[in-house]
Symmetry: none
């Protein structure tokens, strides 16, 4: 059996069965019978250090979560192509009727790093990551040109710019813009410092990020 799944997942699942499931068995059953009604959609990064369920100590049913490299929302493009993130957004907003959409970025983001320091060769001939991160090209040019900032400062700046860019793109979806105008949905930006666990929230007016809680 140990071949069917990686050992560490099997061990983790046993731990889930033993420690967590007993207390949430009833919740899982109800969520299966009644369907999910999450209040919030979170768009987060694939990074192994930024699970929103960990950061927000979420229970099953709490948050609907898209995860892609660098937590990007592409612009609205109703062109009949496959759009993974746009599909999830449409489903969350128009079917599940979430009340909040949160774009959650983080420090030390490998995708942002790749955007700022493109490898000489792509990771594969298809260069999927290069193309995906090219969504940020204008921002990369603006930030990358500033040689007076250190590499880490440029990284940190682009992480925040990318969140604001994704939020702008969220609003390019007509159904999001309409619901926001009616006050039925709220859009948020946040950034987590993975070295310290500090959560920073974006001011919707200025776009600035500040620490949520002073320990």
């Amino acid at each position: 059996m140990s071949d069917l799944l990686p050992d560490h997942l099997i061990d983790g699942y046993k731990s889930f069965l033993e420690k967590r499931l007993p207390g949430e068995r009833q919740l899982f059953r109800e969520l299966a019978q009644q369907g999910q009604h999450p209040k919030t959609m979170v768009i987060a990064c694939c990074d192994s250090r930024t699970a929103p369920e960990t950061l927000f100590d979420s229970a099953p049913g709490d948050i609907f979560v898209v995860r892609n490299v660098a937590n990007l929302v592409p612009p609205y493009e109703p062109d009949g192509e496959y759009h993974s993130t746009s599909a999830a957004l449409e489903f969350a907003v128009n079917s599940l009727k979430v009340e909040h959409v949160v774009v959650l970025g983080h420090g030390n983001c490998g995708g942002i790093h790749a955007a700022l320091s493109p490898a000489v060769e792509p990771l594969s001939p298809g260069d999927f990551i290069g193309k995906w991160m090219s969504l940020l090209d204008p921002a990369v040019r603006a930030v990358g040109a500033n040689e007076l900032m250190t590499g880490r400062e440029r990284q940190s700046a682009l992480e925040r710019i990318a969140i604001r860019y994704s939020i702008k793109n969220l609003r390019s979806f007509p159904f999001v813009a309409a619901l926001e105008a009616e006050g039925k949905i709220a859009i948020h930006g946040a950034w987590v410092d993975i070295s310290s666990g500090e959560l920073w929230a974006m001011d919707p007016g200025s776009g600035d990020f500040s620490k949520m809680i002073d320990e």
Copy 2:
């Protein structure tokens, strides 16, 4: 400040700060300094009831996670378009060098349900979810035509078919196929029954799913 993020996330974050961060502060710091080295990539659904970190009781750094509607891997298409899931796959395999890729499906999947019972009208004029789920069209036709199965049986059947389809697509990526041939990466399928928390693993030979652990 409670306006900056939804209340339930703020409360959850406080709980994280209080209960979990103290025990993992050192781990977060090391992961930030040394970078992430997850052994496993998990492709899971956005569904609020299927967080892999919850199911596998994962620590920060354990798993690299893509989440899209219905945990789909599209076929290899090096066409220069934006491919969110393919980009994450390329990054996990060729940059992070994960040793395992797990496609994790689940019961009561809303995406699968939408594929089998298309709404009269799309969720929005762009019909992003319709297009995204159309990746499964041939399977939908095969399963949908079988009127001897109940609706719930068709749903459950398509959930498993979709996992096998995604695994087939995983192997259409030349770099995945090559590493698998060399024994450097292993591909897995799994399915979780969200009403009971039961985890089912796919037999790589037959494609059958069986319960991992009998309680």
Copy 3:
């Protein structure tokens, strides 16, 4: 008597006489007899919220302190003109033989703000502050051009760039460069967040700033 000095200074002086002087009377006497031998020169801002003696809880005799707007060190210019900061540097290094020079910047710096948002009219016809801050013109152009950063982010970036610029200028003084090469003097950068009291120190290799002490 109250006309001779502002009331709040007189009150503060009485407090000094009562609370602090008794414990330091002997120290003041010795420092007067033996002369000052500070180990460290600090170049700080005039800002009323950034007294180095407060931040470093310094005793009399500890630190030799230059304060000008935005804690700038101009480049080495042996042109026979009056150079206030260069004169202090020369005195500290060659006469007092300090072992450390610290450039201490801070958040919410009014001089940096003025550099990034020049007033339509100068503060006076002489435009002394405009000229003084023009030392940072190249950096202002680099940072100011990035419209994807918020005003606060540009401010924070320029505050750090200005510290690195001053440190570069410190090393343009031949006597500083020579002593540093001999290991007889060490140059440091630091930045204080005046809203929280957090002190950030500059990594001499990368130029990055990181928090000194995690509370």
Copy 4:
């Protein structure tokens, strides 16, 4: 990390965090949010024994402080060159709108000593301190020629003359003179005996200094 800043500053910062910050955290936060509004600008010497914040037991936000060697104000020279002290004066008076400007001299001033006993060789080929102190040349000639005064008396005399000279120069700035004429700003001179902590204030009419407080 102890390499990043001198040990004595790190220790002092820890002491600040422990003893002073807790009581002033709210004040720092407010000063950051609302900006600084110091009532008084102090022009003091870099000397390690004459921190105005120590002498006047100042709280953050109380005083805007320029420090240069010998607390000199150069004459008004709107020549388009860099003038550190004039820039700070312009900023304090015209932007912060301080109500008081205090020139604070002190005993045992090394800069005054250098002016009276010029070294055979300058401290560096640039002779920055020689040039800076040459602002006092006419006074040095007058005092130095008086062989009936002892060296210590000449030093003490020049310290006071220098304060009156700086105050005269303050009034050469048209914006200072205008505000003083309107009663909107007051100019003060003070001198501190660093061997005893005694503060002497200047009579604005006669220019004489007398002890502020008899213990």
